[in-house]
């Protein structure tokens, strides 16, 4: 039996950040489901490795620095019409607010936020999307649904992308759909070295499914949003986080002797419930 509503056969899909992590896993799954892929990244060796993992023929890659306006123009000029676009490239550097500096902030914003916005703008302007095409942004739970120490720059960059996604969904309807996947912590090179193993073990305990995500967990959600199975879904954010978002957690972790932190959290939660109760 051939029935598969998630098939990507006959679809041409552009994937950014395809040299590793979630971008690579997404490329592998999309190719298995029959898509023809155009991979892009700044890292050529990584792109070649990803391409070597793909089933089927006709895939190609284009090396591009998406933070350069000229490179974006060249990339878009080289593209065929698209049925799918996965904007996945992203970076982070955990720094407390008081250590934010122009170099790090501008790097994070230009890769995580400005590059996807400019690339989307050009794809729309140059009419690269076929009817029924689907755009998927890899956002994050971080910044939108959760906060963590040192995550302000990354969270701000992803929060902006989340809002952008909803506006693209509105403006491009009914021809093109636009959604996001919002992963929790995924085992990729992005997961920082600034946190100790002990911190990570404690963080892992806050995931009801008791593990961090694998790139393939996110890739399969992206497949759903690219496929015609999601043809009545647009402007949506699909959270993939092992149940983490459903848990209440103090905003800023303190050591065991800092008990007043949790008391404050309790008071804030109580006030929130009280406000909701009045609204109802």
């Amino acid at each position: 039996m051939e029935y598969n509503p998630f098939s990507l056969a006959g679809k041409t899909i552009l994937i950014t950040g395809a040299a590793g992590g979630i971008g690579r896993a997404t490329s592998v799954e999309c190719a298995k489901l029959g898509a023809t892929l155009i991979l892009t990244d700044i890292n050529e060796a990584g792109l070649q490795e990803t391409q070597g993992l793909l089933e089927g023929d006709g895939h190609r890659y284009l090396v591009a620095n998406l933070t350069s306006q000229e490179a974006l123009d060249a990339l878009v000029a080289d593209l065929p019409s698209l049925d799918g676009f996965v904007s996945n490239a992203g970076v982070t550097k955990p720094l407390p607010v008081k250590f934010i500096n122009p170099d790090d902030l501008e790097r994070i914003m230009s890769i995580n936020t400005f590059a996807p916005i400019y690339l989307t703008q050009r794809l729309c302007r140059k009419k690269k999307f076929n009817a029924g095409a689907s755009i998927v942004f890899t956002v994050s739970v971080g910044g939108i649904y959760t906060t963590a120490p040192g995550n302000a720059m990354y969270g701000a960059s992803k929060g902006a992308l989340q809002v952008f996604m909803k506006n693209v969904a509105l403006e491009m309807a009914p021809k093109v759909r636009c959604n996001s996947v919002n992963p929790g912590m995924v085992n990729t090179n992005l997961a920082g070295r600034s946190y100790s193993d002990e911190d990570k073990a404690r963080d892992l305990e806050t995931y009801p499914l008791k593990r961090y995500g694998e790139p393939r967990d996110v890739a399969l959600a992206i497949v759903y949003l690219l496929s015609d199975a999601s043809s009545w879904v647009t402007g949506h954010s699909l959270v993939i986080d092992g149940g983490r978002r459903g848990r209440r957690r103090r905003l800023c972790q303190r050591p065991a002797n800092g008990g007043y932190g949790s008391l404050g959290g309790g008071l804030r939660a109580a006030k929130r419930y009280a406000r909701r109760a009045r609204l109802l």
Binding site: P96, F99, P149, R193, S196, D197, D199, C252, Q253, R254
Partner: protein
């Protein structure tokens, strides 16, 4: 790089703890206002001031301020 200047920069990352509360022998993980955000601030300060990228595990392994100082010094050399 010398220890007194290091302790000054270290103390700067706390709200309540001051340089007078600290010495090379201080077991800094046990300070009242030590937290994950202070730990990240210390890592960022060491990166900014000394050009050394410390991992979370290296922070955890250091018991006293002197230990941390030694780790940083070893990575400068």
């Amino acid at each position: 790089m010398e220890i007194n200047e290091f302790i000054n920069n270290f103390a700067d990352q706390f709200d309540d703890t001051t340089v007078d509360d600290l010495s090379p022998e201080t077991v800094f993980h046990e300070l009242d206002d030590y937290s994950s955000i202070v730990a990240l601030s210390i890592i960022a300060m060491i990166d900014e001031e000394y050009g050394v990228a410390l991992t979370g595990n290296e922070m955890k392994a250091a018991v006293t301020i002197q230990d941390l100082f030694n780790t940083v010094q070893a990575k400068i050399a």
